[in-house]
């Protein structure tokens, strides 16, 4: 059985603007039907990546293929196979919702019957059918965003690039968009999602890439959260009545698959009246955690509870990006007596 071609593939992809490299050395393979997130700060190269993969701009070095077509040599074919939601909706304000979609459907060469069917389907999906004859300029931000997503999907592209799809949407509209993205995945479409919303990325993406001038790390959200940034596994904290003894710590450190054993205070949110704990890193939580607890008990420790030390994607993000902004106390630094 032949292996299906990747939906997106890049080899050493890079783009320079003047003397500045916006992106360099991007090697990537996206499977068909995968939802892939691009996370990174402003100016990290996310939009450049999208523009390179949609044949909007040419790479300075390296190559890329979408659905097996090279983005430079087969630019027209690539553009016919991708859909893009740009950073701003970029709608024609003096055209109605229907006319906006009809224009793009015509650009993609759809026949009249298909145009009519898809326009109705997508306007209904995004709850804009009742406003189909209203000018896009009269729409709220959320409605414009939904219409722009419908525009990106009107020709049913095999790869969809969504740049901040839920930005500026109210929670209800954002939910509709996320559901739509989930249903697109169900329909086998490959989705590349640029977002600043870490929670959204975690919920929607099969894999996430941290981007800053290149791909810093690529993995599934679960593996990113579970790891230590250096490929290690999840952490375990064992809450104790007293600090762990050197013997107990050595016994735990001797367990295969256990590393980074350390003593520490119980976490504030442990929910127990304890002031001591032991932390360690495991290769496999389900296999190793019971062994660690049994070893501690056998070594004389009084165990009160056990917690998996879960890290958020935000923790991983700042770890990978190498910096976490220091925020001054918003109420601090002001003398009460000052007028």
């Amino acid at each position: 059985m032949s292996v299906p071609a990747p939906a997106v593939r890049t080899e050493g992809l890079g783009r320079r603007f003047g003397e500045l490299w916006a992106l360099r050395g991007v090697d990537l393979e996206l499977a068909s039907g995968e939802v892939f997130g691009l996370l990174g700060p402003n100016g990290a190269g996310k939009t450049t990546t999208v523009r390179l993969l949609t044949s909007l701009i040419a790479p300075t070095e390296g190559r890329a293929w979408v659905d097996g077509f090279e983005v430079t040599a087969d630019a027209d074919t690539v553009r016919a196979r991708v859909g893009i939601l740009t950073e701003t909706p970029g709608l024609y304000d003096r055209l109605t919702a229907t006319q906006n979609l009809d224009f793009f459907a015509r650009l993609h060469g759809l026949d009249p019957a298909t145009r009519a069917e898809r326009i109705e389907r997508f306007l209904r999906l995004f709850e804009l059918w009742d406003r189909r004859d209203d000018l896009a300029g009269t729409f709220s931000k959320g409605m414009k965003q939904k219409l722009a997503i419908a525009r990106a999907l009107i020709h049913e592209p095999s790869v969809v690039f969504l740049d901040e799809p839920t930005a500026a949407l109210d929670p209800e509209a954002a939910f509709v968009v996320r559901e739509a993205i989930a249903s697109l995945r169900g329909a086998g479409r490959t989705i590349v999602l640029c977002t600043h919303n870490l929670d959204e990325a975690e919920r929607l993406c099969d894999r996430i890439a941290f981007v800053r001038g290149g791909l810093l790390r690529v993995d599934s959200p679960a593996r990113l959260r579970g790891g230590d940034g250096n490929g290690g596994g999840p952490s375990l904290r064992v809450i104790l009545v007293e600090d762990p003894t050197p013997v107990q710590m050595a016994a735990v450190a001797a367990i295969p698959g256990v590393s980074h054993v350390a003593a520490g205070a119980a976490p504030v949110d442990a929910g127990v009246a304890a002031d001591a704990s032991l932390t360690c890193r495991l290769t496999d939580l389900r296999r190793d955690a019971p062994i660690v607890v049994r070893t501690m008990v056998e070594a004389g420790a009084q165990v009160i509870g056990v917690h998996e030390e879960s890290r958020t994607l935000e923790d991983v993000y700042f770890e990978v990006m190498g910096r976490r902004p220091q925020v001054e106390g918003v109420t601090g630094g002001v003398d009460a007596g000052q007028s």
Binding site: L56, T86, G90, R94, L95, G109, L135
Partner: protein
Amino acid sequence: MRAAMVWTVVRRESLEILRNRLLVLSIVIPPIVLVITPLVLGSLASIAAATEPLPDDFVKTIVGSRPDWADFAVAELVAAYSLQQFLSLFLILPAYVPLSIATFSIVGEKQTRSLEAVLASPIRTGELLGGKTLSAIVPGMLTSWLAYLLLVVLAGIVLGPRLAGVILDPSWLAAVFLLGPAVGLVSCVAGIIVSSRVNDPRVAQQIGGLIIIPLASIAVIQAVSGFLFGAQQYVVAAIITTIVGIAGLRIANRLFGRETILTRWR
């Protein structure tokens, strides 16, 4: 270049133009003024000539330029001369309308950032530019041609068939039907080039409006010297203007490249 793509762009541009009240007014009002004014001034000039005759040498200069007017009565000659001055204004119409449309269209797309999604579709930049150019030129040409036909009909009614014949002269036909579209092309190209560098349609129009200076100078030269340009001069001017327009289109096409729009248009 695929005609269907160009037509799709023309169709969308037309829908947008029709919904832009300010733009529609700027297309509709000037032709009305251009039809009424020559008729009123032509009538007034012939009345004035009856009480205050023209200097002989001025009459000789006019008849020298237009021997076919030699048998005109003085009042008719004055009216014909006045009407002829409006020929250059009829060239301003196909210059002004495409400039307005092109600047509104391109600066508008820059402001709403709507071009990126279009450029990510299979349309080629030449097709997009072609659609925009046609959408800008055609309304200007149609309005100037309609205004011209209306002027011919009304001049026949108000000023009589002999003076209506002045407007049907080959110089008018060459100016309206050859030089007019050529001027429209140059004007549209100027609008595209200027719009790619500025973000305010009014600024674009003011800069692009410089194209009206050579047209206005035709009127000034005729009014001051009494010399009237003939069909031959307008045909030559049409050829030169078309060459300039085509050269300008090549520059505009370069400015309209996908990368340029996405990375430099701000």
